[in-house]
C-alpha cells in the first residue's frame, strides 16, 4: 500500500461500486406505454393539459452523468488520500518532543498538535517513552512518560501570547533525560530564533539518534514591533520571518470598542524582513487608536496595543466672556480652541451658569481645565475644583479685565497677584511693549526658540516672592513673569499673565501659543482626573490581557501587577503577559515584542550532527474527498438544470416574468409612497414662550415687596407707553420675573429695583442672573437712593449694602460711570446725564477698555458688545410710573416735569442701547461715511 502515494481511508466503501449497474437499470426505467386515442378536439384539450412529455428514454449522456455522479460520491466516501505519512521513528531511545507554543504557533496550532500526536502514536506503536516539553509554558516538565501522558499534556497545551523560553526548556529536557540519548528528537519550532540563537546547538548536544526540525508555514509569523506618531500619520513598524518574496499585508487601527477607524498596508519588499506601514488619519482620529492589528493574522504578535500615551487629553474650557458667538475673534476661547483642537478633546459647558457648569465639566473628568479671564467663581465651586487639582488636574488660567479686578485672595492662582493690570506703552507711560525673554531652563517650554515678534502690552503682575523665579515658565524681557505655575497636590495651576485674546498681547495669535499650550497639555495627566478619591500609585494591576490569538480578554490568570520604575521599559514575560495594565481610567500597554525587534529564522548552521527538516503533518498529505464531493455537487447541479430544461421549465418562464414585473411595480409603488409622519415635539408652555417672543417685553424682577413690585410694573408700563409713542419700538406689557424659576433668556433688559427689605435672593437665583448676564443679557440695578451713591464709600444705604451682597457672588467686570463719549448718551436722544425720580446718581456700566490709541475727538467710542450690568440710584421706575389714566404716580425730586421727561429719555436711550448695541456707535459716523461716498 505504501509504494503508491495513494491510499483509500475507507477502502470497504468501494464495494458500493457494485451497485452501479443497479443504478443504471433504475435510471433506464421508463413510464408505462400510453393508450393511443384519436381525439378531434385536441386543441381544446391542449389548452387545459399541461405539457408533460416524458421521453420514453433518458438520453445516454444524462445516464452517464448520473452514473458518474454516483461513482464520485462512492469514491469520496472511500476518501482517497495522497502522500500518506509513515512511521519512521528511531527505536534506539525515547522520543523527545520540544514543542514551541509561542505566539506564532497559534494560527496552525491544531496542525502542530496533530503532528505531535502522530509522532506520539508512532512512539506508542514502537513502545517508546515520550518526553514532551513546551517552551512557552512556565513549568518545563520534560520527564519521559507513557504515550498516554504525553497525549494528555499535548491536549492540555495551548499557544501562549509569549516568546518561547527555549533555554529553560532544553535544560529541563537535558535534566529529565539524564544522559540518555533520545532515539528521536523532534523540535516543533515556530521558526523564530531567540536572542541567543543557540537552541539548535544545544539540542544537538543531546546527541539524538534522529534529529528532526519540524516547522510550519512561516507566513503567519508577522509582528508589529513599534508605532510612532508623526505629524500626519501613525507609522507602524512590522517584521516578518519569511523574507522570501514581496508581500503586502493590510494593517488596521481599532478604537477602544474594536471599531476599525484607519487602514494602511505594510509592504515587505522581497528579501526584506522589516517594513513600515503608514496609517494616515487626522490627529483627532489617531488619538482614538487603541490597537493596531494586521488583518487576517490573529496572533499576539500581529496586534500592537496603544495606551494612554497616545490618548489625547480631555480639556474643559470655561470663559467669563459673554460675547462668544457674535464676535469669535474677540473671544479668548476662540484662540485656545484653535490651538488645542488638534491635540485635545475639548469640552465646553452647556450652561452659562457656572454653579451648574463647573460640576458638569468636572464630572466628565477632564485632564485640564482652562479658564479664560474668570475673576470670581461661585463660592461653592472652589471646593470641587481644589479637590480636582489635588487629584492631579491641571488648571490653566488666563488673565483679563475680570481677573485683574478680582480680589487678591483667589486660591486658584499660582502667585499672589497685584490688583489691577500693568499697561506697557501708551500715552502716559515711558515703558514700551515688552518682548519675551528666553525660556528658563526648568520650564517645560525650554528648548523652544525664543519667540520673535511677540509684544506684551498689558499684563497682570505677580507680587514678588522668593520662589517666584523657580515657578516662572516664561517671562518678559524685563524679567516680569508671563507664565507662572504652582503644584498643588498631584495637580498644577498654570497662569498666563496675559489675556487669551489678542488685546493684551499678540501671543495668542503666534505659533508659540500653540506650542506652549500643547506642552502644557502634555504635562497634564493623561487619564481623566476625578474630583473625588485619591491619586493612584505606580503598581499597575493587569486590566486586559492579550491571548495568543491577539484578542484582549479580561481574564488575567496568573499575570502579576506591573511595577513601573523610571527609566526601564517593561518587557513581556510569563509573569507579565502582554496586555493592558492599570484600570479603565488609565492604563499602560505592554506589548509582546520589545521595540524594533526583528524576527529571524532558526539558526541551524554549524551543527555537530545532521538533522532533517520536515513540514507539519497534513501539509503534504491531502485528501481528494472534498474535490470529489464538489464534482458530484456540480454534476448534480448540471443534472438538475438539464432536467428542468427538458421539462420545459424555461419555456414557461415568460408568463410569470410578466406577472413578476407587475408585482414588483406594485410593491415599488407601495414602498415609494409611505405616509409622511412627523413627530410632535411640542412641549407644555410652548404657547407662552411663543407669545413672549412675538413682542419685545420689558421685564422687572419681582422682589417680593408688594409696593416696590407695583411701582416697577407701573414704571415699565409708563416707559412702554413712552416708547410706543416716541419710537418705532412698541413693546408688549411688562413682565414680572421670578428670577429663581422663570426663563430669563427672552428679555434683553431686566430691571431690578434693589430693596433691603425684600428677601435676599437664593444663591441659585443669583447664579441664574450670572448666567443671564454671561449669555448676553443686561440687568439694570436700581438702588433708588440718591443720598448715598455707590462711589461715596462712607455711609452706604441699606439698599446699596444689599446690592453689594448680591453682586458679591457675581462675576462682574470693572465698572465706570457712563463716559460722555459712550453710545448710551447718543443712542436715541442726546443726553448728558441719566436722571430718574432723583437726579445726581451716575449710571454705572462696564468699563470699556481704554486703548489709549483712539483719537479723542471722536463723537462716540466704538465698543464691542453691550454692558451686562447697569447700576443707578436714581429710581427710574418711580419717575416712569403712571396710573391707568397716564398720569404720573410719584412726583420727581425736585418736582420738575422736565426731569421726568429726561428720565423717560434715559429709559429710551437704555432700551435702544440694549436692542441695537454698538450699531448706534457706528451710526454717528454716517455723515462722514456719506461724505466719503460723495453724497
Amino acid at each position: 500500500m505504501s509504494f503508491l502515494p495513494f491510499i483509500f481511508a475507507n477502502p470497504l466503501m468501494l464495494a458500493a461500486l457494485v451497485a452501479l449497474p443497479a443504478i443504471w437499470w433504475l435510471l433506464r426505467m421508463t413510464p408505462p406505454k400510453p393508450v393511443v386515442e384519436v381525439f378531434p378536439p385536441l386543441r381544446i384539450l391542449a389548452s387545459v393539459l399541461k405539457r408533460e412529455e416524458t421521453p420514453s428514454k433518458s438520453p445516454w449522456w444524462l445516464t452517464l452523468l448520473r452514473m458518474l455522479m454516483a461513482a464520485a460520491i462512492i469514491f469520496a466516501i472511500a476518501d482517497p488520500v495522497f502522500n500518506p505519512r509513515s512511521n519512521t521513528l528511531s527505536g534506539s531511545g525515547p522520543l523527545a518532543l520540544v514543542i514551541d507554543n509561542s505566539w506564532a504557533t497559534s494560527p496552525d496550532w491544531q496542525r502542530r498538535v496533530e503532528t505531535a500526536d502522530a509522532l506520539i502514536s508512532d512512539a506508542e506503536e514502537k513502545d517508546l517513552p515520550v518526553a514532551v516539553v513546551f517552551t512557552a509554558d512556565q513549568d518545563h516538565n520534560a520527564v519521559p512518560g507513557s504515550a498516554l501522558t504525553a497525549r494528555n499534556r499535548l491536549a492540555a497545551a495551548t499557544p501562549q501570547p509569549l516568546r518561547p523560553d527555549r533555554e529553560t526548556a532544553v535544560n529541563a529536557l537535558k535534566t529529565a533525560l539524564d544522559g540518555t540519548a533520545p532515539g528521536t528528537l523532534a523540535f516543533l519550532s515556530d521558526g523564530i530564533e531567540a536572542a541567543d540563537g543557540k537552541v539548535m546547538t544545544e539540542l544537538a548536544a543531546l546527541s539524538p539518534g534522529n534529529f528532526r526540525l519540524i516547522e510550519g508555514g512561516k507566513d503567519q509569523a508577522v509582528a508589529i514591533s513599534n508605532s510612532a506618531n508623526d505629524s500626519e500619520s501613525m507609522v507602524v513598524s512590522a517584521t516578518r520571518l519569511d523574507t522570501a518574496g514581496a508581500r503586502t499585508l493590510p494593517v488596521t487601527a481599532y478604537d477602544t470598542r474594536g471599531r476599525a477607524i484607519a487602514n494602511g498596508s505594510v509592504a515587505f519588499a522581497a528579501g526584506e524582513g522589516l517594513a513600515k506601514a503608514t496609517l494616515a488619519a487626522p490627529f483627532e482620529l489617531r488619538n482614538d487608536f487603541a490597537r493596531v492589528g494586521i488583518d487576517g493574522l490573529a496572533t499576539a504578535g500581529g496586534t500592537f496595543l496603544l495606551d494612554d500615551g497616545f490618548r489625547r487629553r480631555r480639556v474643559a474650557l470655561l470663559s467669563g466672556e459673554a460675547r462668544d458667538q457674535s464676535q469669535p475673534l474677540l473671544s479668548p476661547l476662540y484662540y485656545i480652541n484653535r490651538a488645542l483642537a488638534p491635540y485635545a478633546d475639548l469640552i465646553q459647558p452647556n450652561e452659562a451658569d457656572m454653579a451648574v457648569s463647573i460640576p458638569e465639566l468636572l464630572a466628565q473628568k477632564p485632564s485640564m481645565l482652562i479658564m479664560a479671564d474668570i475673576g470670581r467663581l461661585p463660592e461653592e465651586t472652589y471646593g470641587p475644583i481644589t479637590k480636582w487639582i489635588e487629584n492631579g488636574g491641571t488648571l490653566v488660567r488666563f488673565a483679563g479685565p475680570r481677573l485683574a479686578a478680582a480680589p487678591a485672595d483667589d486660591p486658584l492662582v499660582p502667585v499672589t497677584l497685584r490688583q489691577g493690570e500693568r499697561a506697557l506703552g501708551g500715552a502716559l507711560s515711558w515703558s514700551e511693549p515688552q518682548p519675551l525673554a528666553d525660556y528658563p531652563a526648568l520650564s517645560p517650554f525650554a528648548g523652544m526658540p525664543r519667540p520673535e515678534g511677540i509684544l506684551v502690552k498689558r499684563q497682570v503682575l505677580a507680587e514678588p516672592t522668593a520662589d517666584l523665579s523657580a515657578r516662572t515658565w516664561a517671562s518678559l524681557a524685563d524679567g516680569t513673569p508671563l507664565v507662572t505655575t504652582k503644584t498643588q497636590g498631584a495637580g498644577r495651576i498654570i497662569l498666563f499673565h496675559v489675556s487669551a485674546e489678542a488685546t493684551w498681547s499678540n501671543l495668542p495669535i503666534s505659533g508659540d501659543f500653540v506650542e506652549m499650550l500643547r506642552r502644557s497639555v502634555q504635562l497634564s495627566r493623561s487619564g481623566g482626573v476625578a474630583s473625588e478619591g485619591a491619586a493612584k500609585g505606580q503598581t499597575l494591576a493587569p486590566y486586559r490581557l492579550l491571548n495568543a490569538n491577539g484578542v484582549l480578554i479580561s481574564e488575567t490568570g496568573k499575570a502579576r501587577p506591573l511595577e513601573l520604575s523610571a527609566g526601564t521599559t517593561p518587557v513581556s514575560s510569563a509573569e507579565h503577559p502582554p496586555g493592558l495594565y492599570g484600570s479603565e481610567e488609565g492604563f499602560t500597554a505592554l506589548n509582546l515584542l520589545p521595540h524594533d525587534a526583528e524576527l529571524k529564522p532558526i539558526n541551524a548552521s554549524g551543527l555537530s550532527i545532521p538533522y532533517t527538516s520536515e513540514p507539519l503533518i497534513g501539509a503534504e498529505a491531502w485528501s481528494m474527498k472534498p474535490w470529489l464531493f464538489a464534482a458530484a455537487l456540480i454534476m448534480l447541479l448540471v443534472d438538475s438544470a438539464v432536467v428542468l430544461f427538458m421539462g420545459g421549465a424555461f419555456a414557461r418562464l415568460r408568463m410569470p416574468a410578466a406577472a413578476a414585473i407587475v408585482l414588483a411595480l406594485a410593491a415599488g409603488a407601495l414602498v415609494a409612497t409611505p405616509g409622511q409622519s412627523l413627530a410632535d415635539d411640542s412641549k407644555p408652555g410652548d404657547d407662552i414662550i411663543l407669545r413672549q417672543l412675538d413682542k419685545t417685553h420689558l421685564a422687572y424682577v419681582i422682589t417680593g415687596e408688594a409696593d416696590v413690585d407695583r411701582l416697577s410694573e407701573r414704571g415699565l408700563a409708563g416707559l412702554t407707553d413712552f416708547l410706543t409713542y416716541r419710537t418705532t419700538l412698541e413693546p408688549g406689557p411688562p413682565i414680572g420675573l421670578d428670577i429663581a424659576s422663570d426663563e430669563l433668556a427672552f428679555y434683553s433688559l431686566i430691571y431690578w429695583p434693589v430693596s433691603a427689605n425684600a428677601p435676599m435672593p437664593s444663591p441659585a437665583a443669583i447664579s441664574r442672573i450670572d448666567a443671564y448676564m454671561r449669555s448676553g443679557g443686561t440687568v439694570l440695578f436700581d438702588t433708588r437712593d440718591q443720598f448715598s451713591s455707590l462711589s461715596s464709600g462712607s455711609g452706604t444705604s441699606p439698599n446699596s449694602e444689599r446690592l453689594q451682597a448680591i453682586l458679591a457672588d457675581l462675576d462682574i467686570p470693572p465698572l465706570e460711570p457712563v463716559p460722555a463719549d459712550n453710545v448710551l448718551t447718543k443712542s436715541f436722544y442726546l443726553l448728558s446725564n441719566f436722571p430718574g425720580r432723583y437726579n445726581g446718581s451716575p449710571l454705572w456700566i462696564e468699563a470699556q477698555p481704554d486703548n489709549g490709541s483712539q483719537p479723542t475727538g471722536r463723537p462716540a467710542r466704538s465698543g464691542d458688545g453691550v454692558s451686562p450690568i447697569m447700576i443707578t440710584g436714581n429710581d427710574f421706575a418711580g419717575a416712569w410710573a403712571i396710573d391707568s389714566n397716564g398720569m404720573p404716580l410719584l412726583p420727581t425730586v425736585p418736582p420738575d416735569e422736565q426731569q421726568r421727561e429726561l428720565a423717560f429719555r434715559s429709559g429710551v436711550n437704555i432700551m435702544m442701547y440694549m436692542l441695537t448695541g454698538n450699531y448706534k456707535a457706528d451710526q454717528v459716523h454716517i455723515p462722514a461715511l456719506l461724505e466719503r461716498l460723495g453724497q
Binding site: V36, P40, L45, S47, T54
Partner: protein, 306 residues
C-alpha cells in the same frame, strides 16, 4: 384496453376511386335513412299555414299585441272595431344552401355514439334537402350543386356528392347571393374566433345561417382515464396525458365554454345554432332546424336555443 374512439372511415389521400365508391356506398344508405326521418317530420306536421314573405294576400288576422304597428292594415281595420293585420302568402321560392363539413375529424366515432359524425352530418343534410324540396324550395350545395327546384332534389344532391365529394373546411360562398338561407353542418372544433371570421362576412351579406354542430358523446364527456396519448386526426399532433381523468373537469369546462361562446357569437349575427350529439336521434336536430327554416322559433333543444 380498447380505445374509446376510432376513425371510422380512414380516407387515404389520393385514392379517389375508393373514396368515391365508399361515398357512393354510403350515400344511398343515407338517402334511405333521410327519407325515413323526413317522413316522420312531415307526418307530424298539421296543416301548414303558408303565410310568409310574398306578394299576394293570404288572410286578415286580428292584430295581436307586440306586433309592429306598420303591419296593421288600416283600411280593413277601419271597417269595424277590430284591428287587422294583412298576412301575405309565402310564395317566392327560397334558396337554401346545404353544406356539411367532411373533414377527417368528422370521421370520428366513439363507442358511445351510434354513428360517426360524418354519417350523421350527411343524413341530416340529405334529410333537410328532402323536406325542403317537398316544400318547393331551391336546394343547393356550394361548390357541389347549383340550386335546383325539384322534387328529387335530395337524390340529385346525393348524386352530385358522389361525383364531387365534399372537402373539409368551410365552403366557398361567393356564388351565394341574395336572401338565402345557409345550413352548415359540421363539428366546428376550430377556435371560435376563426370560425366567426369566416362566418361574419356571410352574415353581413344578408345570409341567414343555421349551424348544426355534430359532436360525439366522447368529445363532450371525456371518458378517458389513465396514461393516454391523444392524436389529432387532422394535424397528427400528439399529446400525452399522464392521468387523463384529472383534466376531465377542466376539459369539459373548456369544451362547453367554446360551444357557448360559438353559439353566443352566432346569435349575435342573427344565426341559429343547434348542437347535436350522435347518440341522439337525428330527427331532433332536423325538427329544430326545420322550424328555424320555416320562421318559427325553435323548441328548446338540449342546446337551450331560442
Amino acid at each position: 384496453m380498447a380505445a374509446i374512439g376510432q376513425i371510422v372511415e380512414p380516407t387515404p389521400s389520393g385514392d379517389v376511386l375508393s373514396r368515391a365508391q365508399s361515398r357512393a356506398r354510403l350515400i344511398p344508405d343515407c338517402m334511405v335513412e333521410a327519407k325515413r326521418i323526413a317522413n316522420t317530420v312531415i307526418s307530424g306536421w298539421h296543416g301548414r299555414r303558408k303565410r310568409g314573405i310574398g306578394e299576394n294576400f293570404w288572410q286578415f288576422r286580428p292584430y295581436s299585441d307586440g306586433e309592429s304597428l306598420s303591419r296593421i292594415d288600416w283600411r280593413r281595420s277601419a271597417r269595424d272595431d277590430h284591428t287587422y293585420v294583412r298576412d301575405r302568402e309565402w310564395e317566392a321560392a327560397h334558396t337554401i344552401w346545404l353544406w356539411a363539413d367532411l373533414s377527417p375529424s368528422m370521421m370520428y366515432k366513439s363507442k358511445f355514439g351510434s354513428v360517426s359524425k360524418e354519417s350523421r352530418a350527411l343524413v341530416l343534410m340529405l334529410a333537410l334537402a328532402e323536406i325542403l324540396a317537398r316544400s318547393g324550395e331551391r336546394i343547393g350545395c356550394p361548390g357541389v350543386m347549383e340550386p335546383v327546384s325539384a322534387r328529387n332534389a335530395a337524390e340529385r344532391l346525393a348524386t352530385a356528392l358522389m361525383h364531387t365529394p365534399l372537402s373539409g373546411g368551410l365552403p366557398q360562398t361567393a356564388m351565394i347571393r341574395g336572401m338565402s338561407d345557409l345550413v352548415l353542418i359540421g363539428d366546428f372544433l376550430d377556435p371560435a374566433d376563426q370560425i366567426m371570421a369566416r362566418l361574419g362576412p356571410l352574415a353581413r351579406r344578408g345570409l341567414r345561417g343555421h349551424v348544426i354542430e355534430i359532436a360525439d358523446p366522447a368529445e363532450e364527456s371525456f371518458p378517458y382515464a389513465g396514461r393516454t396519448e391523444f392524436t389529432d386526426p387532422e394535424t397528427g399532433e400528439r399529446l400525452t396525458a399522464g392521468r387523463a381523468e384529472i383534466v376531465r373537469d377542466d376539459y369539459r369546462r373548456a369544451y362547453i365554454a367554446r360551444r357557448d361562446s360559438l353559439g353566443e357569437n352566432l346569435r349575435h349575427l342573427g344565426w341559429t345554432f343547434t348542437p347535436h350529439r350522435t347518440d341522439h336521434l337525428a330527427s331532433e336536430a332536423l325538427v329544430a332546424v326545420h322550424m328555424y327554416l320555416s320562421g318559427m322559433p325553435g323548441r328548446a333543444t338540449h342546446g337551450g336555443q331560442l
